[in-house]
Symmetry: C2
Subunit: 331 residues, 2 copies
């Protein structure tokens, strides 16, 4: 009998995620029923939102169930099909989770064009991270040419796209990232106007220097001191897209100390979850695909090899050890 | 030579406002130039925003100048006029400040109909406080019938109107106020569905009981622990109108501890200053005038007598000692 491997949530983290929260299992490849297809996943996406799902605390989505395959986006190749819409060899994006294979009736899959865009990009700039940036910039920040846009976790899968989209609009794009190497990449490779290293110990001062005429829009991935530093630079009528609070995934308190500025600068802040706006995905992914295929949006990947490497790669992601989009290669 | 009295800002407060921050002066009534009119003020409005103006710190408006008449809204009667648009005996609303009289060219005055509505109401429900509530509810909260709206400082000039407007829309209106007497008034007189006494020592618990199906909209006047308690009860896609942060007028830090909920509940928060939206005042004030004249909106006033009583009344306002709209009677 053919088998494949998957990783399930063994128990919920108390504080930081540990390897013991996960369990690698070997399971049998099931027989396909009529209408089903079997996918061999080539890449698994690791994303900060998974940390939230591992907790039982109230959130916007139900918690990840114990002893079930960890949630996650995947791209892979159809290796068997009893569904007339999918042929063996088709590439598809899906949510098969931390698993080498997956069975589907095809309903929630997206067929991919891999002639212009490599498969892994559909988990990055032409997938959920790219859509997150596209939605935040277009629907919430609505940044205009000449405005200054600040994005935290700027070298990450979301932040990198956000800044490049802002540049294409004629904005000044200022990133915040951890470490000199990431900041250099954000400026030299992605084309941001500036990037502030929050690990350098003078975040407020450096951000002020990088935003000489203040900040009109903030795309916030991190929270805590990083967010407060950006708020401190806001101009009147600034907008904030609140996308993530990765600084608090370990359970730390994340107060907004500069709350007063929300009033003084008449700021509009919106928290959002991009998967709640599926009606905009076709438009957004279409635009992103064109920009990636045309070389207008660049991206970087950190790739861990083999499913067993996923937990460690995920823990690294939560600590900012990855550089660009964190993936796990499964073939 | 005829004289009148005014109060100027003598120096800026360090921490709480004290009587020494103000100085009462006697000045001469000037000769009217052509086109000018002279107003004897009947009422001075005291409002929390004045505290912000007394500081030199960056804010949305320039600081109150030292040795100049304290800013403030007034209603009064024209007692001399060389302006063809105003006759002696006309009632007008203006911004003559903490002063018994004022001279104007008429440009920024609003002529009042005092046959249906008493003059003082134009400083309350049919003035800036009423417009603040109207704007917040209609333009930001957009509360629908059946939704739960929470408003802090609920017995105040803004909060009281907000809750009554929400009730007229078919919402559940829940107030937060300080003390049993204020809470009883909010429920018994203004018709809110419930009011939580934040001084009773179990704000979170009491607010949870008063909002059994959560909170869809928050009109925030206070900040700090009161705001965090309301945030803790939010439903998905809640809206927040950030109108004031009276808890922090003494310079206290006012962190938003429940920042995480802004993301988890996909909240939209907007800080606003109602005077920046003059295009909506005619519509808003027209609606409010009709509701007040028709008895659909009730209000309460705390009236201090004589200009010299203004500083103490203002300090009381910042501590919540007033009950409803704080006014100073000048005649």
């Amino acid at each position: 009998m053919a088998t494949y491997q998957r990783i399930v949530l063994a128990n919920r983290p108390r504080g930081p995620v540990t390897p013991e929260n996960f369990r690698l299992e070997t399971v049998e490849v099931p027989e396909l029923a009529d209408g089903q297809l079997l996918v061999r996943n080539h890449y698994l996406s690791l994303d900060p939102y998974m940390r939230g799902r591992m907790s039982a605390a109230k959130s916007y989505a139900a918690p990840q169930a114990l002893d079930e395959t960890m949630i996650g986006g995947t791209v892979g190749e159809v290796v068997a099909s009893r569904n007339p819409k999918y042929a063996v060899g088709d590439f598809v994006a899906g949510m098969f989770g931390w698993s080498e294979m997956g069975v589907s009736d095809g309903a929630l899959l997206r067929k991919l064009d891999t002639t212009r865009i490599p498969p892994s990009a559909y988990l990055g700039p032409v997938g959920m991270p790219g859509m997150t940036a596209w939605y935040g910039l277009n629907q919430i920040l609505q940044a205009k040419a000449g405005e200054t846009v600040v994005v935290s976790a700027a070298s990450g899968a979301v932040g990198g796209v956000l800044g490049q989209l802002a540049k294409l609009r004629g904005c000044r794009a200022v990133g915040i990232a951890g470490g000199r190497e990431k900041c250099d990449y954000v400026v030299d490779e992605l084309g941001f106007d500036a990037c502030v290293d929050y690990k350098a110990g003078k975040l407020d001062e450096d951000l002020a220097a990088a935003t000489p005429v203040g900040v009109d829009a903030i795309f916030e991935n991190v929270g805590g001191a990083v967010f407060d530093a950006a708020l401190a630079r806001t101009n009147a009528f600034a907008r904030v897209a609140l996308c993530g609070l990765i600084a608090g995934y370990g359970g730390e308190e994340l107060p907004i100390k500069n709350a007063r500025l929300l009033l003084l600068n008449r700021i509009t802040l919106r928290g959002f979850i991009v998967t709640e706006h599926p009606e905009l995905w076709p438009q957004g992914l279409g635009e992103l695909a064109g920009l990636v295929a045309g070389g207008k949006i660049k991206y970087r990947e950190t790739i861990a090899d083999g499913l067993a490497a996923a937990p460690e790669a995920f823990m690294g992601l939560l600590k900012g050890k990855n550089f660009g989009k964190q993936l796990v290669r499964l073939i």
